[in-house]
Symmetry: D2
């Protein structure tokens, strides 16, 4: 099962951490922790091995993979000895990361991106490719018409955000598509139509790595114990590229909406309070999130929970990118198409009408894989 993993934003922190990690685990320079698909409970012959992954991608940044990996090592995000160990292999992947295609209009750009995918598939004789978007968060941008109307509009001007343009490229080339960001991606009726037409699956949105991961276990705890969550306020302090992007109001709004959804869905009501994201360059990639939850219990007694999470976003996100690529490719191989709600476990803002508590999402995932041939 030769499987392509094509990364949109292939030279970003998350992508490079994923690539270095895949090479490191493959070469036994690092162990499996962090990779959900390496847990005994999730092993299944239909899931391609890390050794079966062929990696490529698009990126507009001129920085080479090796330099980016060394920068991440210098910043303490990647262990320097691991970067050193995979350097030759990493270097050999430079040619697989292509510049973002250009064209006279969006449809042409999407077609050229799809051509890149087809050439990648031929070059490595791949059974299938999964395209994973790990580029910077964009403001949300919708389009309401059907596929014909969409393609006509793409020919005429700028109607899609980049994430959706790449989703179009992937789905039209017969590749599955995963959106690891809160951007619009494939969440457009015309792209859903395209996915069904080409019988490819898609998944998203917004990898659940830190504060929201905690929310997805803590909120169900309050619900199961019949405790009333009165307010849930949080602040995320982060530096690095993602932090700078999220300081931009449009992207910030997309992200914050994605982060709050879990409370409404697991509690059945929306407590007071909001989630803030502040850019603090000094903090770098080791994000700090602080949350205060006020709640009341029996006879109205008021209580509080506070937590501080110091998590390295790239280290939390990167293995999930590999997990999602492997599971989506397996689903594709199983003949599934359209949205994959069973991957809700991995996302802040999952597709479909699914549970939002982590344990229920885990059960859904296990049951789903358990039913594969």
């Amino acid at each position: 099962m030769r499987t392509g993993m094509w990364l949109i934003g292939a030279r970003g922190s998350v992508a490079v951490t994923s690539i270095v990690g895949a090479l490191a685990v493959r070469g036994s320079f690092a162990g499996p922790p962090g990779l959900v698909t390496e847990l005994p409970a999730l092993r299944h012959p239909a899931i391609p091995a890390l050794n079966d992954l062929y990696i490529g991608g698009h990126d507009s940044a001129p920085l080479c993979l090796v330099k980016k990996a060394q920068d991440l090592a210098a910043a303490g995000v990647l262990p320097a000895p691991i970067v050193q160990a995979v350097l030759p292999e990493l270097n050999s992947l430079e040619g697989e990361v292509l510049p973002v295609p250009t064209g006279r209009h969006q449809l042409e750009v999407a077609q050229r991106a799809a051509d890149d995918l087809r050439r990648f598939q031929e070059r490595h004789d791949l059974d299938r490719i999964v395209v994973v978007n790990v580029s910077a968060t964009e403001p949300l941008r919708h389009f309401d018409g059907d596929l014909g109307m969409l393609q006509e509009a793409m020919r005429a001007g700028q109607v899609l955000s980049w994430s959706s343009l790449y989703a179009h490229a992937a789905l039209s080339a017969g590749c599955s598509y995963v959106d690891f960001t809160p951007s619009t991606g494939a969440r457009i009726p015309a792209l859903h139509e395209l996915a069904l037409e080409n019988q490819v699956p898609y998944a998203g949105h917004d990898g659940k790595t830190g504060e929201t991961l905690l929310k997805s276990v803590l909120a169900p705890m309050f619900a199961m114990r019949h405790l009333q969550v009165r307010s849930w306020s949080g602040i995320n302090l982060l530096g690095g590229g993602d932090g700078a992007t999220l300081a931009e109001p449009g992207a910030n709004a997309a992200k914050v909406a994605s982060k709050q959804r879990v409370l409404r869905e697991t509690l059945g009501y929306e407590p007071e309070g909001q989630t803030r994201i502040d850019f603090v360059p000094d903090i770098g990639d080791l994000k700090t999130a602080w949350d205060l939850i006020t709640f009341s219990g029996f006879l109205g007694t008021r209580m509080r929970l506070e937590f501080t999470w110091h998590g390295c976003d790239s280290a939390l996100a990167a293995p999930l990118v590999l997990d999602l690529a492997r599971l989506t490719a397996a689903a594709h191989a199983q003949g599934l198409s359209g949205p994959l709600p069973e991957l809700a476990f991995f996302f802040k803002d999952p597709l479909g009408d699914v549970p939002h508590g982590l344990a229920a999402q885990w059960n859904l995932l296990c049951d789903w894989i358990g039913g594969w041939s």
Copy 2:
């Protein structure tokens, strides 16, 4: 379904909060939050209503219920208007709390306690009684022989801790027994024998109210994400009666062992670190627990989670006492006997070979009740 709830330690903070709470919810002076058995997911006709509960108990303290409730209100643990509202009913229960029986030897004491239970049953024409131990934590004390040997030994001297003596009284009187403390209770082979002989169920141990409740959702989160928990250290600062008891080394050891079990069981290994309990009178009943968890993820990246829990132990424990009494009585009515592992959701140190993650315990509980006639 007239059901007796007989509390060992009936004048303690947890017991009085339970009693006041039951009266308050019954009288609509307070809502159902905190009561798990009032969640739609757990409603079942076999579960006795709060209105069907008849309350009594044993306690060696001379303090009357009304005075204790007023003290709890003054300390901010119970809302003063609620105490005021239930005062007449609370006062009418004073006669139902009996002094701890005495006798020439432990067997006689246990028999007299059983007689108290039988008279309570007759007086109120009860279908059944559930005895709930909410007295102070004791050092663990085991006994290895069979029931005959136990009773002989009880006749000869002090072989059982109080919790086990009351378990003997309950089970021999045909009443079910719940241990809400980490004390030994019914966890003695001879008492198990007695429960089976008399066809009554028993449950325990140690109500899961605060820090351990959090552990039971956070530890599975780390496991499901394949993150390695390297250390888990915690400190519990608490005042009030329970705090003073737990400053005593024997009781402290019983409690700490109970609190750490969840990590070993859900992670499959024991991380570094320990849980401490310190008595700080000024903090009173609003316990503060602080935990630091260090963990590593993909490529060995080191990360941290800290939380602070400010929870009112009585307010967290009291509704669970009512839940356990109702569910154990229902199980008894369903004809179940022996240990009830399906109640693991409520306990730090549950009986039987059960899941220790909260969500799995919740599913176990729901499935169990769902199967009742």
Copy 3:
């Protein structure tokens, strides 16, 4: 030394807590803690006793003092027994709180407010009055001309914010003026001119009660140890009236600027990060502030400090209002006029070129009082 304390915003939380507190300490229903002027180090015969304070004020709200005090007791801000104990005296003060004067133009309003002050002085045969602004925070509003130009402009339209209008009233009536808020108050050249002309002192700005109090001891600690503060980020979650006001952008900006000044002044540079204020009604008056400070030490080693402050703003502010009234009246009696930089200890954003570290401010205060006749 009969001293009037005239509160602008006399029916607000801070004012009513000050009044109830003054009555309670006077009547020995409460001890002196919280009152800096009751510390042995600060006692001086020139400082009027609590018994010498005569209380009055302006407020536009129709709510009576007794009702407000009872509301604060119900919200857990004031102890109910203390409110109960001072009720008769509190009730007798209702007539001393006057509605906000009206007039054809701002100068007339200010003159009528000054008339209210003069009548208050006569009614109680007061030696002097100190006016303290504890009303809601306003956006900053400056005026550059001299006193003549100001009064002409006041006659023509709305040139001053309310805090400055009241400062005008106070200073023109020969009363000293203290601004406990970040509003403009007396910080206008023409009002400074008026203060000098009438030989009255004034003080401000913005009572230092919580997060900034901590900053004023922690920032000097980093400086004295030659540790580089790299970022200082904070979030304040608060409900109550002040919280709602501060959610308004103009007031928020005034407050945030006031809160950050201490870092620049004590460190000599401005670290990354910002201070946020979020309104969370459920949290009420018991504000929670969380700060994360990242710093580097010897050889560039990176370290962190986090703190969470759960402080009751009214309880922290109210005694300072009494302290400031007493000290400003004493300074007035000592013949001082113009700004009183020696009161920097009490303010986030003090007047004059003063130290911003709390200990240095304390020494300045002690030395100042020590030099009084």
Copy 4:
């Protein structure tokens, strides 16, 4: 002013960090942050420059300095490039670290240690030497007799702990002595006698690096604001060598006593609560301390402060070792002898009747240096 800095425990983490740091700052591989003596406010011509320091020491460990420095770099305590940069110089110091002397009795050991100091002085033509104890914490051990009795007792058996034995060696060789640990050191009447006899100064105890540093600014803040501290509880989680030592009950008791003193001294009373030290190997040298302070203010209102300190003990301690060596040598050169209470700023448990608030200690230090010729 050629000054020797002789380290007891010269191959430990703190010592090696001090040495690497001195070499790094000297060579401009690192800046001055962390070094208090490099602050403009403390510069004085009497203080020897870093370039004037000649480094040697005693240690029983066989590990060489270079290896230890590389280990600290691998553990993330020292920056690898800095260690690399100073490697040649560090290597040249290996010969200056001598094994712990042996002898037939303690007096002979002390004399041989003194001989080592004299030879070091001659070898480098030093004006004076300051001996700094940075070895592992020992249980406290006192001796009540005079110098003659002490030396007789030393000849007869084991009467002194190592820290005191080294203090004897230093003082008898005319070297000043600084104890950076909570061990007994020079705090023995007979050693005080020896210091006065030989006209050398001594200083101590227990470098104030983390949690206690915070206490020394926070406790005065509460005192200055007349807020009653009701409880102050803390836990220190640390790995590394010091952590293991402090898990030993005797050393732990010495340390904990040293840590609590600041509260009693600055508040004037002792709040409830205790300070715990737990050994968690995974945490390594980046210690985490968590403290909860409960306090009450005006009208008895209850409030709380929590803080978490993630500090690298070696990085905090090492520059203070250099500061203390330079300042003690300068004091010696100024002709001072006996205890140096003016160095209280640097210690948890300072000598003499001194202020315990950090700001007051800072003023004492500045005034002291300001008075030097």
